[in-house]
Amino acid sequence: MKIALMNGSPKPGNNNSGILLKKIEPLLGEGNELTSISTSGKELTPDQYRALCEMDVLLFAFPLYIDALPSHLFRIIIELERYMKEYKEKEVRVYVLINNGFYEGHQCHIAMKIMENWCKRSGLTFCGGIGQGAGEMMGTISNVPLGHGPLKDLGKAMVRISENIANGTQVEKRMLSPNVPRFFWKLMATHFFWNTTARKNHLNRRDILRKL
């Protein structure tokens, strides 16, 4: 099977969407032809768009931006609709791995619907996917194996989605929060993410709170 792994994060370098794709890759099984596409910092070429029309599966991973798709990725899927209408000759199935900053993965449900609506317009088969909350935790826990600790539910969902990709069936939409309590996540995110990074930039809490 020809599978495109579409990284829809605009963040250069390491990003959480990339971590999710790396984690699912070994689950996809042998004998597939995988093509990884980054969307950060550069436009896709016409050749890349045409190649996407020849895939069996498009597996999108992207961050939630203001309850929707990041604008650069949104421009890409609009263009891809045009290419699909011109070049697609067989069924193309679409699976989606969204991650969001807030704890609750279900906040990804609108972006999932936007992808579903896009598939309908473009003549693609929407096969559902995962919305994973607390996405910025991925960097610090990327060494934790899927199915363990905070990634327990995500592990199960990833196994399920890869089986579905292999046998051509649909997954439902699964919206997940990490397997850690919300207060713990909030504490970690506030102190070890925002405050620590701000301190590295020589900013204190008053600076962060400033009004202009």
Binding site: F102, E104, W118, L203, D207, L209, R210
Partner: protein, 167 residues
């Protein structure tokens, strides 16, 4: 202060709203807007201002001066058009990085104390029911994240039919 953010061609916009009142600022597509690159610089490097300098770096402050924000956007797949999406992505300096809970869900704390009425005019020729529903949900969710005091959503089959509604 009121702000109109639109994705219309300037000639079309001017024909719809020939005289823009002095308390309204209009934000349109100059063709130069840069996408957000998710660096969070607007929160932890230059708090309140985006680090990308292209004329759209002050959206946080601009929103803080508004009591009405009106969006005019083509509706695509139940979302705003790319330019409007881009403006919203670049608007997170309006908020703080810190979290709070609203109705049992996590959201960001507010940086400013104002709130605005959030009105969205969606145009698009053959919108499906699913797309309209998605768009309504999207506006409601954005309203929660941006602390709007009220959200209003309108749909128009033809761009021209907006003329009366906007005037």
């Amino acid at each position: 202060m009121k702000m109109i953010i639109h994705d219309l061609d300037s000639a079309v916009f001017n024909s719809f709203i020939p005289h823009v009142a002095s308390d309204i600022s209009v934000l349109s597509d100059t063709g130069h807007i840069k996408p957000c690159i998710g660096c969070f610089g607007c929160w932890i490097k230059t708090p309140g201002i985006c680090v990308r300098k292209d004329g759209y770096e002050n959206l946080g402050k601009m929103l803080s001066e508004c009591d009405e924000v009106t969006i005019i956007s083509k509706c695509i797949y139940g979302s705003y058009s790319p330019f409007i999406r881009n403006v919203l992505d670049r608007s997170i300096p309006y908020l703080l990085p810190y979290f709070t809970s609203k109705n049992g869900e996590t959201h960001h704390q507010r940086r400013y104390n104002n709130s605005f009425v959030f009105t969205v005019h969606f145009y698009g020729e053959d919108l499906t029911e699913a797309e309209r529903e998605t768009a309504k949900e999207l506006v409601a969710a954005n309203g929660i994240n941006f602390y709007s005091s009220k959200e209003k959503v309108f749909f128009y089959d033809r761009m021209e039919s907006m003329k009366g509604a906007l005037g």
